[in-house]
């Protein structure tokens, strides 16, 4: 009886399952958008209805207008490009330094004993505390800003790489040795793929800190950059400009993060993660 029903029931259940997965794929971002949209809409209506003049907290329409205005004059692009350039160069330097030092200290216990304690001590200093010194050393222009960002990026990358290298499974390394890999080939075929997942995480947290520190760096005094827009908006009493700059930060920051994830994704398809497993079902 049940055997006869089964084949007919099967496709239906699959359809239902597929429909449900499509629903959940689109509905979960939609769910997340619900609250901010309702708040934005509510605020817009409240200002329109005259409950508030919206001067200190500009409604979405004003923010959008400011954003569009800044974009039309090319101001937004100019400031965003300046900020992006600082983040990219600081990130690049921080990543290179963090990767090299992290790999060396992870690989060699002796080197780790030598330099890791000093680096950990430096890490304990809030990086913003370096600002006056960097300005004294490097001047108030790009060099000190990029250095500050690089310092911010360096530590998560350094820690992530060192941790990843030290925790590579000895048993997997032994497989490489049994196949007579050594030196460069051991690094290329065993160590690199083994540390890649942790490396991507380290890069992403480094990038996050890079974006955080670029704001601090631009507060130090800059004539352009999204941070300059923030300061400028505060000094001239233009809250819409501040919010527009914040939105620009959020969008560009998210896009750069996606870039890292997207570039790494093809190399990480093998990962045995709880999350990826769950999303397949």
């Amino acid at each position: 009886m049940s055997a006869a029903i089964e084949p007919a029931a099967q496709p239906k259940r699959n359809d239902a399952k597929r429909a449900k997965s499509v629903l959940s794929r689109y509905s979960s971002p939609a769910l997340g958008l619900f609250l901010p949209l309702v708040l934005a809409l509510g605020w817009e209506l409240a200002v329109r209805a005259g409950f508030s003049n919206g001067r200190l907290v500009p409604p979405p329409s004003v923010i959008y207008a400011t954003f569009a205005e800044l974009a039309k004059t090319g101001e937004l692009q100019r400031h965003a490009a300046a900020t992006l350039a600082r983040v990219v160069s600081g990130f690049g330097i921080g990543v290179i330094a963090g990767t090299v030092l992290g790999a060396i200290t992870g690989y060699s216990t002796l080197v780790r004993r030598f330099i890791d304690p000093s680096l950990q001590a430096l890490r304990a200093i809030p990086s913003i505390a370096w600002v006056p010194l960097f300005i004294l050393w490097l001047g108030i222009f790009e060099a000190s800003k990029v250095t500050l960002i690089a310092v911010g990026v360096f530590f998560p990358v350094y820690l992530g790489v060192m941790g990843a290298v030290t925790s590579v499974d000895r048993k997997i390394v032994e497989v490489g040795r049994a196949f007579r890999l050594s030196g460069f080939n051991m690094v290329r075929r065993i160590l690199l793929p083994a540390v890649l997942p942790a490396y991507v995480i380290a890069l992403r947290s480094g990038l996050g800190l890079g974006w955080m520190f670029v704001v601090a760096a631009e507060f130090m005094g800059a004539s352009e950059g999204l941070g300059f827009l923030l300061v400028d908006g505060q000094q001239l009493g233009k809250p819409a400009q501040i919010v527009a700059a914040i939105v620009a930060f959020a969008v560009i920051g998210k896009i750069t993060d996606w870039l890292i994830v997207g570039i790494a994704a093809p190399f990480l398809r093998w990962e045995d993660r709880f999350k990826s497993q769950a999303s397949q079902d």
């Binding site: 048993k171 497989v175 049994a178 075929r189 793929p193 093998w270 045995d272």
Partner: protein, 258 residues
């Protein structure tokens, strides 16, 4: 021909794991090594395949001293140890990187067919069962066509059915090219089914205590009385190998005397 000449190993922490192990294994021979836990079986295999260097003596393969992993010696560990970032086919072909791709692909496909996993070639290791993963590990070790294959308790983590299945698989693979097999096992039945010769080791320091020639025709019938006789023989030798170690302890000897 693989020859061990007075191979000894003392670890850095002072553990005397092996002492003066001597034996030779001819081409195509299957040798099983059994012994209590911690008697140095893994240490011995690691010395043979060059992952560790012996503190005394030497290992010779066809007259050449083995000091580091050798292309003619393959090893299969207790766990599959597949590389999670390579597909099944990528894992099997891991040792063939320097060969042209068509040859590599052909040999990988052939090996996967031999272990019955040709439909799994594009899967990731995480998608395999324990027994399948161990079969991939066997294929990976066999694809470079080693002359000597070492197996360190390769089936001990598997259930009894899968184990018997894989023993048959292993014999089938062995029959293709007849490499020398040296198999460490805790399972006396497994030793008797597979081996031409069974060496019983004795602990502290590890050395060869007794050698049993199985001398049974293949394929072997686990129910036959000859099989049972050999098994009893090995069991008895194992028992004896463990006893003197207890007696040598002065306090326990005294306790027994009382």
């Amino acid at each position: 021909m693989l020859t061990l000449e007075r191979v000894g190993k003392t670890y850095g922490n002072g553990v005397h794991a092996l002492e003066a192990v001597n034996f030779s294994v001819g081409p195509g021979e299957i040798v099983a090594i059994v012994g209590g836990s911690g008697c140095g079986k893994s240490t011995l295999l690691r010395a043979i395949c060059g992952l560790d260097t012996p503190s005394q003596g030497r290992v010779l393969l066809d007259g050449e001293t083995v000091t580091q992993p050798h292309e003619k010696i393959g090893i299969i560990f207790q766990e599959p140890r597949l590389l999670p970032w390579l597909t099944v086919a990528g894992n099997v072909g891991f040792g063939l990187e320097d060969r042209p791709k068509p040859e590599r692909d052909a040999r990988v496909a052939e090996a996967l067919t031999r272990v019955g996993l040709s439909d799994k070639a594009r899967m990731w290791p995480r998608e395999l069962s324990g027994g399948q993963a161990q079969r991939v590990a066997i294929a990976r070790a066999l694809v470079p066509r080693p002359e000597v294959l070492l197996l360190d308790e390769p089936f001990s983590a598997l259930d009894a059915f899968t184990r018997v299945d894989l023993q048959d698989h292993l014999l089938g693979l062995w029959a293709d090219r007849r490499p020398t097999l040296i198999l460490v096992t805790h399972d006396v039945d497994e030793a008797v089914v597979l081996a031409d010769r069974i060496m019983v080791m004795r602990p502290r320091p590890g050395r060869i205590f007794d050698t049993v020639e199985t001398d049974l025709p293949r394929p072997r019938d686990r129910q036959s009385s000859d099989f049972d006789r050999v098994r009893r023989h090995v069991m008895a030798a194992l028992d004896r190998s463990l006893k003197p170690a207890v007696k040598s302890d002065a306090n326990e000897g005294a306790a027994l005397w009382w």
